[in-house]
Structure formats: C-alpha cells, structure tokens
Symmetry: C2
C-alpha cells in the first residue's frame, strides 16, 4: 500500500508570510503523494470589516450569510489558495488548488437551520468524497491543495471547517493509501498546561482524551481538532499527529493513537 | 483526432446571473472534451472601489499593482471561478476550476516595465503550457474552467487577458486535438456597423480583417479579440468563431478563417 500524507495548515501560519514560506518549502520537500488543506486566517475578517459586512457570531462561531460566503470564497479559494499554489510551484511541487466543488472532490450538505442557523455552512459528505478523482491527480504527480470551501451539488458553495475537511479526505483515501494526517499549527502539540509550550503531550489515545476532556485540561480550541483527529483514526487513517508547523518533517508533537 | 472545444465567456455575461446560468446549462450540454475560460466582469472594479484601492489606467488598460492583483485573484480565481464550477457541477458537467498556476498549466512572463509599467500583468508563455496535465484532466472526463490569472513560476501571480489565454490554450492543445475555439460575448459576432446587431459579418479571413482594420470599421474593443482569433488559427486551431453567448450551440456568429 502506497503511503499518503495529508497536511492541514492553520490560519495562524497563513497570516505570517515568513512562517508560511518556510512551511511551504518544508511541505514541498515531503515525499509524494501528499495533500495540503489550508485554513483561513484573518484576511477574510479584515475584508468583511473593510467592505462593511457585519460579522455575526453564535457562541464563538461565525454565521455565514451570503456576503460572508462570497468574501470567504474570494479569500480562501482565491487569494490564499492561489498564493500557496504559486509558492509551491516555485518550490518544485506540482500543486493544484481545489475547492470541494472542483471535480466534485468534496461534496457537503448544508447544516440544518435548527437549532441555530449558521447559514452557508457545510458538513462534509464523507461517503461521497471523490476518491477516483483525487487518486487520478495523486497518481500522476499532482499535489491537491484544498481550501475549506465545499459545494452542495445543487450549485451552492458552502463554508466548511478545514480540520474536518482534512480528516475526511485522509479517511476517504485510507482505503487505497496508508494515510498519515498531520495537523500543523502555531503550537508544539496538545499542551497539558495551555501556557507551557514545554508541556506537549507526546501520545494520546481516545481514553486519555476523554479523561483530559473531563478534567477540562484540553483547551476549548483544541477540542474540535482532537475530535477530528480521533474521527480520522476511527475511519481508517493510520497515523495522526498534532504538531508545530515548523516541525513538519520531524517526529515531534502529539501523536493520537487508536485503541 | 479527438475534437476539443475551448469556449471563452466574456465578463458582460458573468455579470448577469440569469444570462450566465443559461449559458452554463448550454455549455454543460456541449460534447466533451471541453474547456471554459472566463473573463472578469465588474465585481473586481466594485471591490476595488469599496476597499479604496485606486483604479489606475493607461490608455484604457488597467495597471495591476499589488492590491489590485490581490483583489483580481480573489474575484476571478475565488468567487467567479468557484461559482461557475458549482453551477456546472449542478448541471452534470464535472468541472475543475484552475488558474494558470494550478498544475503549472499556464505559465506566463511578467510584462516588461518599459515603455509602460502595467504592474503584475502576464503574457502567456505559450510554449510552456502544460499539455500533458490538461490532457490528463480532459481524457478522464474532467472539464477545466480557467480564470485569467497565471503565474511566473517564481512564486508570483499575474493578471492575464482571458481572450489571449483561451487562444493560447486552444493552440497548445491543437497538436493532440482537433480544436475549436468559441469567443462568446454579448453581441452576435463582429459587426460591420457597430450599432446594428443585424450586421454580423458571417465570415472573415485575415486579409478581410486587415482591410476592415484599415477602414476603421472594426471597433476598438473587437481588435484584440480578432488578433487572438487569428493567432489561434495561425497556431493550429482548426475553427474559430466569435458569437453571442446565447448561440453557443448553433452555427451563428462570425467565423474566422485561416488563409
């Protein structure tokens, strides 16, 4: 079975040109086949402010109305995706930028409007991920670079969580590849003490995750990432790591383990 | 030799949702393999105004500074490209949205800064168009949908003329396909009298084009389109038409002929 690496890079790295450049050089040097999924960063929020689109939130999560979807698609699928692709091309990696609409690669379903209407937000339709199309690209030396915009197959675009997208893509491809999923961001891994960069938990299984959750040791922002990590393991992904973007190619960070 | 249709759709159609939808349904019904290249429309100009980026022109042509490039990439590669792809997917056409950076499909060179510095504007490097990558997509039932953003292979994105891009792509693929190029826009074809929609010139060869140019019968906006049309014919494209978007699938409009 051929090995595949799926890397998610967080918005915090995207926002810093020097950190992004270093990361992309490292990513370009990773063995193929590989896939990159990128988050959003602050540019969408800045543009929403500049153009006077009100930012609406519900319990810390953005509500995506029509204007917000338009701006998110412009920023994620347009500027960020093409900037990343151009830099990877320069680094010798034959990147091809995609949204989930392209090649019907990642279909999604609009989240139901009750109890809270989050607007144009999509949940990945994991069973309908287009594995043949992705395999075609991968097996021909191309490197898919995904933004977290999907489609509902009814002509509509949807804003999607990039961690979930990376997890679902890695899982869908785990039937044909030995797949490894790396969540890269601005911290060294899952921290036992949120303020202590040296408290990276090297290994975590689902039981330990539950225990830390109950003890409220895991920070709020880390919870969905870990949920996505364990979902990937449950759905066939062989290895999952949460790590610092600058340690992409070393065996550091938190390894999540299936048991 | 397999037949290929390359269609350019103008910004004027992109700007009108109902006209765009009708056109995309017609395009989806065209026989494959096929490629769509889309123009920009007014959205970029609107967003430049909203965000306070000054629009700088030289003899009717936009100068693309860094902020303008960012906005053009957001609008063309982001919103327009993904909207078109999602609508084609709905219509049963397996579209895959691309910029010239994706899969290194259409490399370009930055236009020299003298005599006029147009900024981040690229001229297509016709000999370096990635024919194997495009053939891979086409031969596997995918339909490339291009925005007119290219890259310099040095990590930089460039704003490019969509007519030129369509012409160069059709020409590059004419070695492996019998290629047909259709420039679709909001008029019935090349008009002998600019104000008379019924004065469509049915057929035009290079000599006739020269003659009409000298008589200043061809409108200013039509000149570069016709230059691109005849360049395509000189470079191996079998058939070239300039026609109304709503007549995509009928034999109307102006046929340009090589001689």
């Amino acid at each position: 079975m051929k090995a595949l690496t799926v890397v998610k890079i967080g918005g915090n790295i995207i926002d810093r040109p020097a950190a992004l450049r270093t990361f992309l050089l490292d990513f370009a040097a990773l063995e193929s086949p590989k896939i990159l999924v990128h988050g959003g960063g602050v540019l969408a929020t800045e543009l929403l402010e500049k153009t006077g689109v009100p930012v609406r939130m519900h319990e810390g999560r953005r509500i995506t109305d029509e204007e917000t979807l338009k701006i998110c698609t412009m920023v994620y699928a347009g500027w960020i995706n093409k900037t990343v692709v151009a830099q990877l091309q320069q680094a010798g990696c034959n990147a091809i930028g995609l949204s989930g609409a392209d090649a019907d690669s990642v279909p999604a379903t609009k989240r139901p409007p009750a109890p809270v209407d989050f607007g144009f937000v999509g949940d990945v339709a994991a069973s309908r991920i287009n594995v043949p199309a992705l395999s075609l690209l991968l097996d021909n030396g191309l490197c898919p670079v995904f933004c977290a915009i999907t489609h509902d197959a009814q002509g509509g675009l949807l804003n999607t969580n990039a961690d979930t997208m990376a997890s679902a893509i890695a899982a869908a491809l785990s039937k044909t590849y030995y797949s490894k999923l790396l969540f890269c961001f601005e911290k060294g891994g899952v921290l036992a003490r949120p303020d202590d960069e040296h408290s990276v938990i090297p290994e975590m299984d689902a039981a330990y995750f539950e225990q830390l959750k109950q003890q409220q040791i895991i920070s709020k922002g880390m919870l969905p990432k870990l949920d996505n990590a364990f979902a990937a393991l449950r759905n066939g992904v062989a290895e999952v790591y949460i790590k610092h973007a600058r340690h992409l190619r070393s065996d550091t960070g938190t390894r999540c383990i299936f048991n």
